[in-house]
C-alpha cells in the first residue's frame, strides 16, 4: 500500500494564535485513519487546511506527490481530496438525487454554450449523470429516497447521502468530520459499515475526526492524536492504547 496523502509540517497561524503547529502524517490507500484530540486540539483546522478552507502558513499537503497546500477549496476537491462537514453540508431544498448529482458536477461534460443552446451531448451528459447518481444511491440502499427533499431526511440518512455525494466522483481521499455524531446506534453501525466498505472495496484513503473513542478503536487502522495544535502521538490502535502521553493529555487518566 502506497502513501496517497502526505502532510508534512503543516502549520496554521491566525494573528498570534498557533492553531496548527508542525503536523505531519501520511495516509495510505484503503486506510482508515482517525484524528482524535480534545476540543481545541486543531482537528477541524487540520481538515480546513488540507481542504483549502484555511490557508496553511507553512508546510505541504502532497496528494500522490502533487502539492495542494494553498489552493482553493474547489480546486483541491477537483484534484481528489473531498470532505464532509460537521454540521451537515447537504442542500436541503434539493432532492437526494440532485444532491448526489452535484457531486458529479466537475466530471459532467457540457460547456455553458452547449447547455444554453440545448445541444444533444449536453442533455445526454445530464441523463448519464442522473443514471450514475441512481446507481450510487442503490449501492448504499438509498435509491428509494432519491426524489425526497434532502432536508426531510433523518439525520442519519442525511449523513449517508452527504457521503454518497462526496464520493460520487471517486476521490482517492475522503475527509469525514465527525460522521457519527448524533446518530442512533443502528445508524452508527450503518455508518461504520459504509466507512469500511469505502476503504476496503474502493481503496479510498479516509481521514476521520471522531470523538467516540470506542468507534474510533473499532474502525481505524491508525490514529493520530492531537492536543493544542500539535501531534502528540501517531500509531496503531494498540500502540495508542498504551501511549502515556495520550492517556494523560486526552483520555484523562493519570
Amino acid at each position: 500500500m502506497s502513501d496517497l496523502l502526505q502532510v508534512s509540517s503543516l502549520g496554521v497561524r491566525f494573528s498570534g494564535l498557533t492553531a496548527l503547529d508542525d503536523v505531519s502524517f501520511t495516509l495510505r490507500e484503503g486506510e482508515v485513519r482517525a484524528v482524535i484530540g480534545p476540543n481545541g486540539a486543531g482537528k477541524t483546522t487540520l481538515f480546513n487546511a488540507i481542504s483549502g478552507y484555511v490557508t496553511p502558513t507553512s508546510g505541504a499537503v502532497l496528494l500522490q506527490g502533487r502539492d495542494l497546500a494553498g489552493q482553493s477549496p474547489h480546486a483541491i476537491a477537483e484534484h481528489g481530496v473531498r470532505r464532509t462537514f460537521q454540521n451537515g453540508g447537504l442542500f436541503p431544498a434539493l432532492t437526494v438525487l440532485e444532491n448526489v448529482m452535484t457531486g458529479l458536477h466537475a466530471q459532467t461534460p457540457g460547456s455553458f454554450l452547449d447547455i444554453v443552446l440545448g445541444r444533444r451531448h449536453a442533455i445526454e451528459a445530464e441523463q448519464a449523470a442522473r443514471a450514475q447518481a441512481h446507481d450510487l444511491l442503490k449501492l448504499m440502499s438509498m435509491d428509494h429516497m432519491a426524489d425526497h427533499r434532502a432536508g426531510d431526511l433523518s439525520g442519519g440518512q442525511q449523513r449517508i447521502v452527504e457521503i454518497v455525494r462526496t464520493v460520487a466522483s471517486d476521490p482517492p481521499v475522503l475527509l469525514l468530520d465527525e460522521p457519527a455524531v448524533g446518530l442512533s446506534p443502528v445508524a452508527r453501525d450503518q455508518m461504520l459499515e459504509i466507512i469500511r466498505r469505502l476503504a476496503g472495496e474502493k481503496g479510498v484513503g479516509i481521514l476521520l475526526i471522531e470523538h467516540a473513542v470506542e468507534l474510533v478503536m473499532s474502525v481505524a487502522d491508525r490514529i493520530l492524536v492531537m492536543a493544542a495544535g500539535k501531534r502528540i502521538a501517531d500509531g496503531t490502535v494498540p500502540e495508542i492504547r498504551e501511549d502515556r502521553a495520550v492517556l494523560e493529555a486526552y483520555l484523562g487518566y493519570a
Binding site: S51, Y53, S72, P73, H74, A75, A77, E78, R82, R83, T84, F85, G89, L90, F91, P92, A93, L94, E98, M101, T102, G103, L104, H105, A106, T108, G110, F112, I115, V116, L117, G118, A122, A125, E126, A129, R149, R165, T166, S169
Partner: protein
C-alpha cells in the same frame, strides 16, 4: 408510460403557447397590442431578476441597471452609430452581461445580504446619474430617440410588427434560461444558494457560478432593454429608477421566486393590472398594493405554485422554497 410522456407533453405545451400567440395581433387593437408587447418585455426583466434573487439567492438589485444599460446601448448603437435595431438586441444583451459582471464582483468580494442590496441599489442609481450627465452620448434628461426603421419591409413603428420580434426574442431567451436551469449549471446555482461552502467542497467553482448567473441575468435583461427602447421609441433616465425596480420585484414575488413560469405570470398579471385599475383614478395604487398583498398572503410561493398544485405538467425542477 405516463412518466416518460410527461416531459414530452410539457415540451409541446411550451411551444404551443408562442404558436398560439402568433394569432394575437389579429385580435388586438393598438392599445392592447402595446400592453401585450410590454408584457413580453416585463417577462424577460422578471426572469432575469428571479434568476439572481430566486435561484442564486443573492439580494442584488442591479437588474434595473442592466435593463437601462441594454436600452441605452440599443438606442446609442442605432441612433448614433446607425446599426439596424435588430442587430443591437444581442449587443445590448452583451452590455447587460457586462453590467452583470460588474455587479457580481461585489458578491464575489464576499458582500452579501443587506450590504449587497444597498451596493447594487447604488449601482442602479449611479447608472441613472450617468444617463443624465453623459449628455453628448445619452442625450441627458431629454433622452435619445430611436430612428424610424423597417425590418424586411415592415415598419418597426407598428406594434404588431414589434410583437413578432419581441415574441421571438422572449421565447428564445426563456428556452435558453430553462436549458440552463435544468443542467448541472442550474443545479450548481441552487447549490450555491443552499450552501456555498459545501458547494465548493464538491469541486464546483462557486465564484464562476455566481459570475455566470449575474452575467446571464444581465444578458437577458439587457436584451429586454433593447426591446424596451423600441417599444417606447425613446429612452429616458426616469424609466430605469426605483419604480421600475419595485415593479419588477413585485412581479418576481407574485409569480414565484425562482420560477420561469412564475416570471411570465407575474409579468403578465402586474402589467395588465394597472391598465384595468385606470378605471379607478386615485385608488389605483391602493388596489394594486392590496392585490399584490393578497396574492402573497394566499400564495407565498407565488402564482406558479398554484399551477404546480393543479398539475405536474407545471412543475419546475428548481423552483423550491
Amino acid at each position: 408510460m405516463q412518466v416518460s410522456s410527461l416531459p414530452r407533453l410539457r415540451r409541446r405545451l411550451f411551444w404551443a403557447v408562442p404558436v398560439l400567440l402568433l394569432a394575437l395581433p389579429l385580435l388586438t387593437n393598438e392599445y392592447t397590442q402595446f400592453v401585450a408587447n410590454g408584457m413580453l418585455i416585463a417577462a424577460l426583466v422578471t426572469l432575469g431578476f428571479s434568476l439572481v434573487i430566486g435561484n442564486l439567492g443573492q439580494l442584488a438589485f442591479a437588474n434595473t441597471a442592466f435593463f437601462g444599460l441594454g436600452a441605452y446601448a440599443s438606442a446609442i448603437l442605432s441612433a448614433t452609430l446607425g446599426l439596424p435595431w435588430i442587430v443591437t438586441i444581442p449587443l445590448s444583451g452583451l452590455v447587460g452581461a457586462l453590467g452583470g459582471f460588474v455587479a457580481s464582483s461585489a458578491a464575489l468580494r464576499g458582500i452579501r445580504a443587506y450590504y449587497l442590496a444597498i451596493i447594487t441599489l447604488a449601482f442602479g442609481e449611479l447608472m441613472r446619474w450617468v444617463y443624465v450627465h453623459a449628455r453628448p452620448v445619452t442625450g441627458g434628461t431629454n433622452g435619445l430617440a430611436l430612428p424610424k426603421e423597417t425590418l424586411f419591409g415592415f415598419s418597426l413603428s407598428d406594434d404588431k410588427v414589434k410583437f413578432y420580434v419581441f415574441l421571438l426574442v422572449a421565447v428564445l431567451l426563456i428556452k435558453a434560461t430553462s436549458n440552463l436551469l435544468r443542467s448541472r449549471l442550474g443545479r450548481a446555482i441552487m447549490a450555491v444558494r443552499e450552501n456555498e461552502v459545501a458547494t465548493a467542497s464538491l469541486g464546483i467553482p462557486t465564484a464562476r457560478i455566481i459570475l455566470m448567473t449575474f452575467a446571464w441575468s444581465g444578458f437577458v435583461t439587457g436584451c429586454a432593454g433593447a426591446l424596451f427602447a423600441r417599444h417606447v421609441g425613446h429612452v429616458f433616465p426616469e424609466s430605469f429608477g426605483m419604480i421600475q425596480l419595485i415593479s419588477s420585484f413585485a412581479m418576481v414575488l407574485v409569480g414565484g421566486l425562482g420560477s420561469i413560469l412564475g416570471a411570465v405570470l407575474g409579468a403578465v398579471l402586474l402589467t395588465a393590472l394597472p391598465e384595468y385599475l385606470r378605471a379607478f383614478p386615485g385608488l389605483e395604487e391602493l388596489f394594486f398594493g392590496l392585490i399584490v398583498g393578497a396574492v402573497l398572503l394566499v400564495l407565498p410561493m407565488g402564482l406558479a405554485s398554484l399551477l404546480r398544485r393543479a398539475s405536474p405538467l407545471f412543475s419546475e425542477r428548481y423552483y423550491r422554497e
